[in-house]
Point group: C2
Chain length 282, copies 2
């Protein structure tokens, strides 16, 4: 099952790392856009289990951007990478079915292995993806506690029992994921839990032992290896940490400074460095 394959790949690479492919390139031809991603993939496919394209960065370029999105997924999968598409969709059942077909079930173009989903509309906006998850061996990550500051506006609101909303959403996600359990103890229905909230992440980790976490917010957004120390469940891992700009724009940083043409080599160095940072706290 996909979730077991993800965990196995993390064990093999010893890198619970997903590289975000969110090129912030303005006004460039779609070919260049794809070549940029291909360069990164070629340098990192042997040391990480997964990549995460953020679809907004492709949608902003219209049709040619979407073409690049599908090509990127197809190429990453051809190199053995698991693709987590960050689409954060969420809508009523008939519409959710259409999104599921578009992003998990289509045979007309490449589709991701996992997609991210927003929980605000409730179970009947999530369940329609299950059929494609089972049929095509795919998975979901539901937003629980996101990495941005604004996540406190709604996700942190205290409920009647005194707990913040995200704890309740975490419980729902845990329950909703029961029919999608893999063999290694985790459901194919995972949760998005930001690296920028270490205490909250730890509490969620304890209350959701069978939910695999996708963890954004490492690096550019401020999270570090020590913030994630509580997340790890021994050699079963239990989480995969995303870094986007920290990897793909590493050549522009002091630490991994390189010429533009060596951007992909700098990305590989940044991944190896991130792996070391995470390992120190495992």
């Amino acid at each position: 099952m996909l979730i077991d394959r993800l965990i196995t790949k993390i064990q093999e690479t010893r890198a619970p790392i997903v590289v975000g492919l969110d090129p912030r390139l303005d006004q460039i031809p779609a070919d260049t856009f794809f070549e940029f991603n291909k360069g990164i993939i070629d340098e990192i496919y042997d040391i990480v289990p997964a990549v995460k394209p953020q679809i907004a960065m492709y949608e902003r370029h219209g049709i040619s951007g979407l073409e690049c999105y599908f090509r990127t997924i197809e190429y990453a999968q051809s190199k053995g990478l698991i693709v987590i598409a960050d689409i954060k969709r969420g809508d009523i059942a008939s519409t959710a079915e259409a999104y599921s077909e578009a992003h998990l079930g289509s045979s007309a173009h490449a589709t991701a292995d996992f997609v991210t989903i927003n929980p605000y509309m409730g179970y009947d906006s999530v369940e329609p993806y299950f059929s494609d998850c089972k049929k095509h061996d795919k998975g979901l990550f539901i937003l629980v506690k996101t990495s941005n500051k604004g996540s406190r506006d709604i996700q942190d609101l205290p409920m009647q029992n005194g707990q913040p909303l995200y704890m309740h959403v975490g419980e729902l996600v845990s329950k909703w994921g029961e029919p999608l359990m893999g063999e290694m103890g985790y459901s194919a229905l995972g949760a998005v839990v930001g690296a920028t909230h270490p205490q909250e992440a730890l509490t969620l980790r304890k209350s959701m032992p069978h939910t695999f976490f996708l963890v954004p917010g490492y690096g550019a957004q401020g999270g570090s290896g020590s913030d994630l120390a509580g997340l790890w469940a021994g050699d079963r891992y239990g989480a995969i940490v995303n870094s986007s700009r920290g990897i793909t724009s590493a050549y522009q940083t002091k630490k991994f400074a390189a010429s533009e043409k060596d951007y992909a080599k700098a990305a590989r160095e940044a991944v190896l460095d991130m792996k070391k940072d995470l390992e120190a706290y495992m």
Copy 2:
């Protein structure tokens, strides 16, 4: 300002109605898909102020579906219709900027007048759209209480003060919308409030006097004119009611039965009937 133009068009047509363009046509060429929408638009542009394409129904057809989505927006606007794109996006600031460019600010393809947005990630996932709203005279509808059954799972959860979550989200949306006030008393930051929850809608209407409502759930989903009686704010209206299948598939119903080639004429009849149903309770 756009929100004033929407209200003025509702006053002129006396129809607080938006026609959902969500063709549920499987495996059809993009041209046929567009022609279907064009047929509907040609029959209804003179009697309603707005149309609402649901982007998932286009995304499911990949690149050719998205081409049809942009063509539909362009054609609807060329007939004087206001376009509310139902995209329900929601993401961190840099990503929200990309979505805003893709769906409100792009000069590379047609963009909608309003888009729908999910509030779960908080203010910093909403504010990045404001710049395009001001610069290009656009608007937003934020999900508050949606029309589906599952909306109770999270939106109805009781907060510490005893109120359901959606009331709190409504207050936030009302406050967030202050910088986008139009001249007719409503903000360009509106709210999505389902027709299937009449009591809740009434309570929200009272607590959000300056927030314009986009109301899904009429017709196929179960809402009727009498359910909406509490929504109307005299000749300023204050809400626009969506119907999708009830209009575009009217030819398949007993009431408006027609041959397939007359689907658009049946759609017009269904709009006129809906207008009468709403007017009876205004």
